[in-house]
Symmetry: C2
Subunit: 366 residues, 2 copies
């Protein structure tokens, strides 16, 4: 380790460039930053010196002086998740195109960790942040991000109490349409399979699900809402498929849950159960039957977020944007299976006191 990098020529500084070009440090600085007026002849001489020496400005000296870093920060819950991976790729591409480094961090396992991570990024004077709020209540963290602070865009989930740009997908509408699609096939007993119910996206999708049921005059049955964790995978669907009024269709609230449902259905050999997945996944169209999905576009999400962020960084001023990305229903087969038994009893026991019983068709605005 000791003599490492001994033969490597030391990186040149402004001073050396200036000496070689026969000008002052400041002139070189002007040329490098394109600021102020420099005579064309001087400039070209400086350019030449820069080229021969291979000069590159020292980022730390610059950051120390200017108080900012040519980087943006990205905080994501879990980058291993294919959804966030694709989003991250889009952010990385946009950042690199803008000449900014991307400093990337996981949100950790607690609000404290998440706060520490964001603080760390801010302390490094990143130009902006792309944040997927996870455990941290940003509104109460006193972080000075967003409008009036360090540019920040919240992605996938909103951050209550913070004025900042937000990029979400239309979870309510997606949940509504997926459910309406199954209702249209004649299903009345539709199970909602999801992971942790405390998560924003899931709650919203559940809202859409309930609205669709209500609009169709189908009673909401809490027994049909099944959380999914690693621990209950083995008998995930047991409850909803048992009893005298079993589910005839499934709506899985995200890719992880979908894959669990696919596995479960496959294991028990119930390919006649209708199924819609919220979120597409690689082999969805190669399964038997191919899986109908409500598709979001994580890449678009990342691009939209970074675009907003770059505009903020450039100094543009506009009211907090709230971009709502569409969810597209892609029928592939599994969602177009009709119920095996006639609609059943439950359709008659409609939701009790509800005057607004519009027909499905015009989904509510989320």
């Amino acid at each position: 380790m000791s003599a490492a990098r001994s033969g490597v020529p030391a990186v040149p500084t402004l001073r050396e460039v200036a000496a070689l070009a026969g000008v002052s440090i400041k002139t070189v600085s002007r040329v490098v930053n394109g600021t102020g007026d420099v005579a064309a002849s001087t400039a070209s001489r400086v350019e030449e010196a820069i080229a021969t020496l291979g000069y590159r400005p020292n980022p730390f000296a610059r950051s120390l002086r200017t108080g900012r870093d040519d980087a943006i920060g990205l905080v994501v819950e879990s980058i291993g998740d294919p959804f966030f991976a694709e989003m991250t790729e889009a952010v990385a591409a946009a950042a690199s195109e803008a000449g900014l480094f991307l400093i990337h961090a996981g949100a950790g396992d607690s609000a404290e960790e998440e706060l520490a991570v964001v603080r760390g990024l801010l302390h490094r004077s990143v130009r902006g942040l792309v944040l997927v709020p996870c455990l941290l209540p940003y509104g109460e963290a006193g972080l000075s991000v967003g409008i009036g602070g360090v540019p920040a865009v919240f992605v996938d989930r909103p951050a209550a109490g913070v004025r900042a740009d937000t990029v979400l997908i239309d979870n309510v509408r997606g949940g509504y349409e997926a459910t309406a699609h199954l209702l249209a096939q004649g299903h009345r007993r539709i199970a909602f399979i999801g992971t942790a119910p405390e998560r924003f996206t899931l709650r919203e999708r559940l809202v859409g699900y309930r609205r669709a049921l209500e609009d169709a005059g189908v009673a909401f049955d809490p027994d049909l809402v099944v959380p999914h964790h690693r621990t209950n995978e083995a008998r995930l669907l047991e409850a909803v498929l048992a009893g005298e009024d079993p589910a005839t269709a499934m709506l899985a609230a995200n890719a992880v849950a979908s894959i669990a449902v696919v596995r479960a259905l496959h294991r028990i050999g119930r390919s006649e159960i209708a199924f819609v997945s919220f979120d597409d996944f690689p082999t969805a169209d190669a399964l038997t039957p191919p899986v109908t999905v409500a598709r979001q576009d994580p890449g678009l999400m990342g691009r939209s977020a970074t675009e907003l962020l770059l505009r903020r960084i450039a100094g543009e001023d506009f009211p907090p944007a709230e971009i709502l990305l569409p969810v597209t229903l892609v029928p592939r087969g599994s969602g177009e299976i009709a119920p095996t038994r006639p609609a059943g009893l439950s359709a008659c026991v409609a939701t009790a006191p509800s005057s607004r019983r519009r027909r499905r068709g015009a989904p509510p605005s989320a």
Copy 2:
């Protein structure tokens, strides 16, 4: 934008801490860095001042002085690829645990871009690099990474001409075992479906495939090796399934190719074709039939690489490590399908002059 961050208290500096504690800045520096001897009483007074002021060292000033950054760089081909996403997550976790930021960059679309990215990272004085070499011939880039330069670990593919730690998976053995597995079911016509053949991992897997064939006395038929690109997906398997001696089994050389094969087989309804996938993917066990895979562990790869890197960063000196991670064959059904027709003619036309015709069983050491 103008009055942004006006109400925010300025970040405290060493000087202010020193003033509050009634000591010199150097003493505070000593306490912060745990360097040199400081009297316990002074130290505690300084600690207190640090706490009340919420002091944190300015990373740029520090980096300017020390010439290094508390960060590692990660260059990956495509972070959207689930394989690299999982790897990245492991690297990110390890980095964060070590108190290092992770600066993340895509390799871009050309050797020049890749070089620029790595240079950029080096210029930022990262402590180390995790690199998935892509288009850049590192050996000829004159980069001073690895032993004797900036600590670097190459992952997934080796970098010719560079002395550095490397973490690979045993592609040859994996290809061998996957092929041998199909041979053991009686298959003699096994197609090898892969993406770009210029890629290291693919070449190696192909080597394993050929060795397995050779050891089984089965002639290698170049017509059974099919590249896969986006453009030929529609009729990916046409050629190998046509003719009078069609393939009865498939080996897909990576997850992307596997998914294409799954789709293709599904589309043409040939579920009786045996199939092994190099690389696992989320729904592999939920397909019909469930897909037998040769599984690698991207998380382990990331962890191993970062562990090596951190040891280098800590100053440990040891000869370049070459870690070869295992590939595990996971039989699930698709790979255990026997050929529908008897082994066929081709088995007789064995590889011409090959004295070493060992039986399959003991795979070659990669």
